[in-house]
């Protein structure tokens, strides 16, 4: 599939920090893309450049096969910023209509779409309420609707689940899957790794304004796996020492966590146990969670201390 968005050597420097320092990656059409990074890594700046709010200092953005022109392409993008924003005193229906019209829909189109989405997410009864009457989760839902209403090709969601209860979070999650199936590309920015693992196909991790990881979730996990396996036997083994592995951790007299030494394969470990005539109940590889990878990578870069570095 073609790339809907390509970033080439993007840079954006502020007076006190390099917010985005030479980042390139591309996003395939129809994928759910995770943009990860610790606080202050430059995610928001990056997103603001993709939404045309900021201009990059250098580098280029290609959108949908052409150079990105904010004024024209902006209607094909839906952006839900991390800090939610709605007019508190405005009626919900009118607010959704207004935001849709700002995206370039005609009033009639906007009305049809708003009705459709309100019905879909069971929000019809809210039409004449004001945002100040809504709970945080409810306004979150409204914000989501206003973001995807004009059926943009690219949807950017910054922490879309914060403040949502599990039921509504699932509702939104299903919508995200649905949108992706219909060909929308979704950029999903968060630091909740379990959600990323569940939803995203492709992730990029930024820290200190630089890209430090890029790949599919499976690739990344493979890259960071440490050859650790969990094994459970039907009876305690007679001996448990072999040059092929070392035991990291014994959970009971029948189950172990082992790390395969370099130069050996998992089959050799299995053979060792099979040769002992003990039944093997299970043998599975322990892959690192994204959370662990995240912490491992980000800790290494000492992200916190860079916040106020001086540029010369």
């Amino acid at each position: 599939m073609a790339a809907i968005l390509e970033l080439n050597h993007l840079k954006k420097y502020y007076s006190t920090q390099k917010a985005v320092d030479d980042i390139s990656f591309s996003i395939e059409e129809g994928s759910i893309f995770g943009l990860l990074g610790p606080n202050g890594a430059g995610k928001t700046t990056l997103l603001r450049m993709i939404t045309g709010i900021f201009y990059p200092d250098s580098g280029s953005i290609n959108f949908d096969g052409k150079a990105f022109i904010p004024a024209e392409d902006i209607i094909k993008i839906g952006y839900m910023p991390e800090e939610r924003g709605l007019y508190k005193k405005m009626k919900i229906g009118e607010q959704a209509l207004y935001l849709a019209q700002l995206k370039g829909l005609s009033r009639q189109d906007a009305l049809t779409k708003v009705r459709f989405w309100f019905k879909k997410l069971e929000m019809e009864s809210w039409w004449n309420k004001k945002v100040e009457d809504l709970s945080k989760g409810m306004s979150q839902k409204l914000q989501f609707v206003t973001t995807v209403l004009h059926e943009p090709k690219l949807i950017i969601l910054d922490e879309p689940f914060s403040g949502l209860d599990p039921v509504n979070a699932n509702l939104i999650k299903d919508e995200i899957y649905g949108l992706a199936q219909r060909g929308c590309t979704i950029i999903f920015s968060t630091h909740r790794m379990e959600q990323v693992e569940e939803i995203c196909n492709h992730i990029v991790l930024v820290s200190m304004g630089k890209k430090i990881l890029d790949g599919t979730v499976a690739e990344v996990k493979q890259k960071f796996k440490e050859n650790e396996f969990k094994i459970k036997l039907s009876s305690p083994p007679q001996a448990i020492a072999n040059e092929a592995f070392q035991i990291l951790h014994q959970e009971s007299n029948r189950s172990y966590v082992v790390k395969i030494n370099e130069g050996y394969s998992s089959n050799q470990v299995l053979q060792y146990f099979i040769s002992q005539n003990t039944g093997i109940e299970y043998f599975s590889e322990i892959l690192p969670t994204l959370n662990e990878i995240f912490i491992q990578l980000v800790d290494g870069t000492k992200s916190v201390s860079r916040a106020f570095q001086k540029l010369d």
């Binding site: 902006i74 910023p81 924003g85 405005m90 019209q101 700002l102």
Partner: protein
């Protein structure tokens, strides 16, 4: 352009559809009028008559001191000071003057007024004037051996009329009306700049605080958002202004019909305060006002008023929007950034008060050309007549400068706004604002 219109429409409707809008639009001027009415009523009515007993043993007053409504002189001869004191204690009199027999006007002897309570400064002055006028008349009559009729004819003043080179006669009513209309329009512009400027600033701050600015800026350009807000609120101002004009016309037609005696009462209320009133004594104040309005060019004034209202509003509201975008939650931060914006407005009102008295002075001309003060000052000069007091070149130059001024402030503000609306954290310094504006 379409998006600016959408934003302006929302800004306009969200304000006009509020229940409080109609209420404040109609009630505010009524409230102000009512306040003025009460003030006038009380300044006129509060004075109870002050009765002064006069015992003129030296016959210096000739038996009569002219009585003003609230100051009454009663000649009570053959009473001793003690008897007078008794009358004051019994509240039959408020005070008394006892002139001893050996009183000599020529020597400049003093006359003493004894009163129960302390006499207020205005009343003191009134009493002093009346007594001195009576003494003066007696002195003239006795020393010059004139008759009362001769004296009256000597003292009668002649009317001075004012006319321009073109031979157009300018009556005093016109000068008075020009003064009043000039002052009122200048002041109105001043208030409008503040009210609507602050409204724009508060709106921008609200959008920034709600974080909706970021959502909207991902759909429209910051400039469009700013201009939409300014246009929408400007339209609110215009509608409010039109309602006020309609209301005034309505009141002018309706009030005289309801209260037929209004003309006379207002005249009685302000006996000869302004010269304009003097000229109109016979016909009543309302008529003279109408007459004066006929002399000045109402259409031109209204047209100019709308132009200067819009020009001044656009010029200042852009600056107010820039300040709103730069500050955060703390309204105190806004105060210090607002100072350089409010200063020229205040200067404007100061120059305006001079300009209504001297509409052709250098200061007035400068103030009416300089775009930061021209909306206020020029509006104060225009009622004095356009080709006469304000030459055409001044009017046109002032308008062009104002247009140039608002293009410049809008450009500057748009730059500050673009950066400021997405900046959270501490209040920016002037240096930073400058950088936002002049760095790409």
């Amino acid at each position: 352009m379409n998006k600016i219109w959408l934003i302006a429409r929302r800004e306009f409707l969200s304000r006009v559809q509020k229940k409080t809008f109609l209420l404040t639009t109609i009630l505010l001027p009524l409230f102000i009028f009512a306040c003025y009415g009460l003030i006038i009523y009380f300044t006129v009515k509060n004075s109870d008559t002050f009765k002064i007993g006069v015992v003129d043993n030296a016959k210096v007053f000739g038996g009569k001191i002219e009585t003003k409504e609230e100051i009454q002189f009663l000649f009570l001869n053959n009473l001793s000071p003690e008897q007078l004191k008794e009358k004051v204690n019994q509240k039959e009199l408020d005070g008394f003057v006892w002139v001893p027999q050996q009183f000599d006007m020529a020597k400049g002897d003093t006359i003493t007024l004894v009163s129960g309570k302390t006499v207020g400064i205005i009343k003191r002055e009134g009493i002093q004037k009346k007594i001195n006028a009576a003494l003066e008349e007696q002195r003239l009559l006795s020393s010059m051996h004139l008759s009362k009729a001769q004296l009256d004819s000597l003292q009668r003043g002649n009317e001075v009329k004012f006319s321009t080179l073109e031979g157009k006669e300018e009556n005093d009513a016109k000068a008075g009306i020009s003064f009043a209309v000039g002052y009122a329009s200048g002041f109105l512009i001043y208030i409008i700049l503040f009210i609507y400027g602050t409204m724009v600033m508060r709106g921008v701050m609200e959008e920034k605080m709600n974080r909706i600015a970021e959502v909207i800026i991902s759909s429209v350009k910051p400039f469009q958002l700013m201009m939409g807000k300014i246009t929408g609120i400007g339209a609110v101002g215009l509608v409010q202004f039109i309602i006020w004009i309609a209301l005034t016309i309505f009141l002018r037609v309706i009030l005289p019909a309801i209260i037929p005696g209004m003309g006379e009462t207002t005249q009685a209320m302000q006996p000869g305060t302004a010269q304009a009133m003097e000229a109109a004594k016979s016909s009543g104040v309302m008529d003279s006002f109408l007459h004066g309005l006929g002399d000045i060019n109402v259409g031109l004034i209204l047209g100019c008023f709308i132009f200067y209202f819009l020009g001044g509003y656009l010029l200042y509201s852009a600056l107010f929007a820039a300040v709103g975008s730069a500050v955060n939650e703390d309204p105190q931060d806004a105060q210090s950034l607002l100072l350089p914006i409010t200063m020229p407005i205040i200067f404007g009102i100061v120059i305006m008060t001079k300009a209504v008295n001297e509409p052709t002075s250098g200061l007035a001309v400068f103030g009416s050309l300089f775009p930061l003060t021209s909306p206020i000052v020029m509006m104060a000069r225009i009622p004095f007549g356009v080709p006469n007091t304000v030459p055409y070149w001044q009017l046109i130059l002032s308008m062009l400068l104002l247009i140039g001024g608002f293009v410049l402030t809008t450009w500057f503000s748009a730059k500050v706004y673009r950066t400021g609306i997405l900046m959270y954290g501490k209040k920016p310094s002037w240096k930073e604002l400058w950088k936002w504006a002049f760095r790409q």
